[in-house]
């Protein structure tokens, strides 16, 4: 009889919880952002599979598409400012080409002629929503690839780290004594190592693939600081009457640990997981920005490429190379963080509104 009620109510509790989550505007904004990027990540394989995009044009790494345009041949003046140009950077302007760059290839060209040229990086157009980069690759497709990498890495490493830290934290709280001391000193040890230089060292051992990095971040995060927080939460659960009751009624240690303490620590652990995704995405982007991961394409790499080619110092003239990638990292990391904050505001009893 009681079992039936519990079974029936599972779906409704989910609905109730979701309705409560909807109260938090912050959480909803985060959820929308995450769903948007999740949609982007799924969309790319779908587009390739249905043949709407062909690999040779839209592949994020190997694709190539040159956008043709007609340019007027001009001669840049020696001194600035003139009527048409204010500074040296203005000449040649968007649909013009300097004669000096053409002379070696087309000796017969004159000032005022029209020539067919290919533009790389090309500004956004109908076939390339976010333009192409300096190698003629589609930026929108790269963003989609980057979001796949971010989701894979973020979720994998966060799950791993939460799995490890929840189990270790509960064990430390439940057994106490030497086990506790050992686990706490172990996380002290990992907290002492500066994380970014540590990742540099690890990247020097081997060519880091995405899943290597996910494992490394997951394990380091799982053994580090979050064990301490989870332990303090588990300590509060351990002194609750139902744990004593379970012990009196003859529950084994493992039984108490896994069916009484762990489920009560789980909400906090899920919160940690959401924040962990933020951290993992940030470290992946920084590492690939510095060129330390063996990756075909990611958001950090896109920024690194546009910095190496000098497009960031050109400001917003080439905005499609500068803005989308950096904004994606910020938005997705922030989206997960907002979901975490929203969950915390609504489900943490100490924060719930009166």
């Amino acid at each position: 009889m009681e079992n039936n009620i519990i079974k029936k109510s599972k779906l409704t509790t989910f609905k109730q919880n979701f309705n409560r989550f909807k109260e938090s505007k912050i959480g909803m904004v985060g959820l929308v952002i995450v769903i948007f990027f999740g949609f982007l990540a799924i969309l790319q394989p779908f587009l390739f599979f249905t043949g709407m995009w062909d690999y040779s044009t839209y592949h994020p790494v190997l694709g190539y598409d040159a956008v043709p345009y007609t340019a007027t041949v001009v001669e840049c003046p020696k001194e600035y400012p003139t009527e048409n140009y204010n500074t040296r950077a203005d000449c040649p302007s968007l649909n013009e080409i300097s004669i000096i760059t053409l002379r070696p290839f087309m000796p017969e060209v004159e000032i005022g002629d029209k020539v067919e040229r290919f533009r790389q990086p090309a500004p956004p157009s109908r076939s390339h929503i976010l333009g192409t980069d300096s190698l003629g690759r589609d930026v929108f497709s790269q963003i989609m690839e980057g979001s796949q990498v971010a989701f894979f890495l973020g979720l994998l490493s966060a799950t791993l780290s939460v799995f490890i830290s929840t189990i270790l934290g509960s064990i430390a709280a439940y057994f106490g004594g030497i086990v506790d001391a050992y686990l706490m000193r172990q996380s002290d040890l990992l907290l002492m190592l500066p994380s970014l230089p540590l990742l540099f060292i690890i990247s020097a051992f081997t060519e880091l693939k995405v899943w290597h990095l996910a494992l490394v971040i997951g394990i380091l995060g799982g053994l580090g600081g979050s064990v301490i927080t989870i332990k303090s939460q588990a300590l509060q659960v351990k002194v609750k009457p139902f744990v004593d009751l379970a012990r009196i009624t003859g529950g084994s240690r493992m039984n108490i640990l896994f069916s009484h303490i762990l489920p009560n620590v789980a909400p906090l652990a899920i919160l940690f997981m959401v924040f962990g995704v933020t951290g993992a995405i940030a470290s992946e982007s920084v590492l690939s920005f510095l060129g330390l991961i063996n990756l075909d394409m990611s958001w950090g790499l896109m920024i690194a490429l546009s910095q190496a080619d000098g497009y960031i110092s050109a400001g917003f003239e080439f905005w499609w190379l500068v803005v989308p990638a950096g904004l994606s990292v910020t938005l997705l990391a922030g989206g997960f963080y907002l979901i975490g904050r929203g969950l915390d505001d609504i489900f943490n009893p100490r924060l719930r509104k009166r």
């Binding site: 904004v29 060292i201 020097a204 982007s285 920005f289 960031i312 110092s313 910020t330 990391a333 924060l351």
Partner: protein
């Protein structure tokens, strides 16, 4: 209590030993060594590389090297830098540390005050439209892709507006006939920052019991301005008068990095303050205060914010550890030659003595911070205190 502290101290020493061995093993596992560039030099004879490797003892078995390192470490001998030979790691750290400390102490002080202020108001206005949007913006400024943001700031303020210098921490041409090196100036600037923030803190402490909120605010404001006036006299005093233009040059170069890091760092403090303050606002004594009819502002500032300050301050102590870690990217992008650059260079070029020294420096700072936090928690938290007494 004493037993707890001693026990904790012994554990700390063991952890530090493990930390030393572990980091040595990590550096040793990186393929190659610092001297391999000698092999590429065609002017050197074949045996040069072997001689140097032999000289530095890199051919010894691993166990001997680790043992040598740890023993010498506790004798206070850190060896010589492989790549900048006559300098010892301690020289290098002493040269670089003031620069990083100067930059990040200012950042942390500014970020702490602004973050606490913003977080306090956010928690107070919970549920309003403005609160939601400000929280969302501060989350994004917290998770912003830092290298990208720093590059955009460099582009905007350095290249487009041309207001601030891009990179480096001084104009070398201004320092040709300087009678001292930049570190002396840095040390003076750090001293000044410490005095200023200490006095400001003291003003806040001594005025906190003034009943009327308005007088308190006014006194604090006057105090701040008189501190500014005092610092004018301080920098014009006889000893520091020569340094003033040079200190100004450094300060001018510091504006952009400080601005960039502060925007990221303040959001973290603001979000943390928001959460802790929201917890405090649910306490019964806030309800009591409301029932007594105390003004809203007073409840916010005196009853809630003061309690919420404690966890924020503890987390602030812990961020001191991560300063040097976060300094790596900042200093790399703004080409600020501080500790972060030193760590990055020594790790990537395998200058093991320097890398070990910087790592253990960070480790010691982290350990002391954790130890102090643990012991003070054990002392302050009645639950732990009672358990230890009996």
């Amino acid at each position: 209590m004493a037993r707890y502290v001693i026990n904790r101290f012994i554990q700390m020493v063991i952890v530090f030993l493990l930390f030393l061995v572990l980091s040595y093993l990590l550096f040793d596992a990186i393929p190659g060594n610092a001297f391999q560039s000698l092999l590429l030099n065609p002017d050197l004879p074949d045996y040069a590389y072997d001689r140097v490797v032999e000289l530095y003892g890199l051919n010894d078995p691993l166990l001997t090297r680790v043992q040598n390192y740890v023993v010498n470490f506790f004798k206070g001998d850190f060896g010589y830098s492989y790549l900048q030979f006559p300098k010892t790691p301690l020289d290098l750290i002493a040269e670089r540390l003031p620069r990083t400390l100067m930059l990040f102490s200012v950042v942390n002080i500014v970020a702490f005050y602004t973050g606490f202020f913003v977080g306090k108001i956010l928690a107070w206005k919970r549920g309003s439209k403005a609160e939601t949007w400000i929280t969302i913006t501060s989350v994004f400024s917290y998770t912003i892709f830092y290298p990208w943001f720093a590059l955009l700031m460099l582009w905007y303020f350095g290249l487009k507006l041309n207001w601030l210098p891009i990179g480096k921490f001084l104009y070398p041409e201004k320092w040709y006939d300087a009678p001292f090196d930049s570190d002396v100036v840095f040390v003076e600037m750090i001293k000044y920052t410490i005095y200023f923030s200490l006095l400001f803190f003291l003003i806040n402490i001594f005025t906190r019991n003034i009943e009327s909120l308005k007088t308190r605010k006014n006194i604090r404001l006057y105090g701040f301005f008189s501190l500014l006036a005092l610092s004018y006299f301080y920098w014009n005093s006889s000893g520091l008068y020569i340094m003033k233009p040079y200190a100004g040059d450094i300060a001018y170069h510091m504006i952009l990095p400080i601005l960039t890091v502060t925007i990221v760092a303040f959001a973290g403090t603001a979000l943390l303050t928001r959460t802790t303050m929201m917890e405090v606002l649910k306490e019964d004594y806030i309800l009591t205060a409301r029932a007594k009819g105390i003004s809203q502002k007073r409840i916010r500032d005196r009853h809630a914010a003061r309690t919420a300050l404690l966890p924020v301050v503890t987390s602030f102590i812990f961020t001191i550890v991560t300063i040097i870690d976060g300094a790596v990217i900042t200093e790399n992008i703004f080409s600020w030659p501080g500790m972060g650059q030193l760590i990055l260079d020594s790790v990537l070029r395998e200058d093991i003595p320097v890398a070990m020294a910087t790592f253990s420096f960070i480790g010691i700072v982290a350990l002391i911070a954790h130890f102090v936090a643990d012991v003070s928690y054990a002392f302050l938290d009645p639950r732990i205190r009672i358990r230890n007494q009996g």
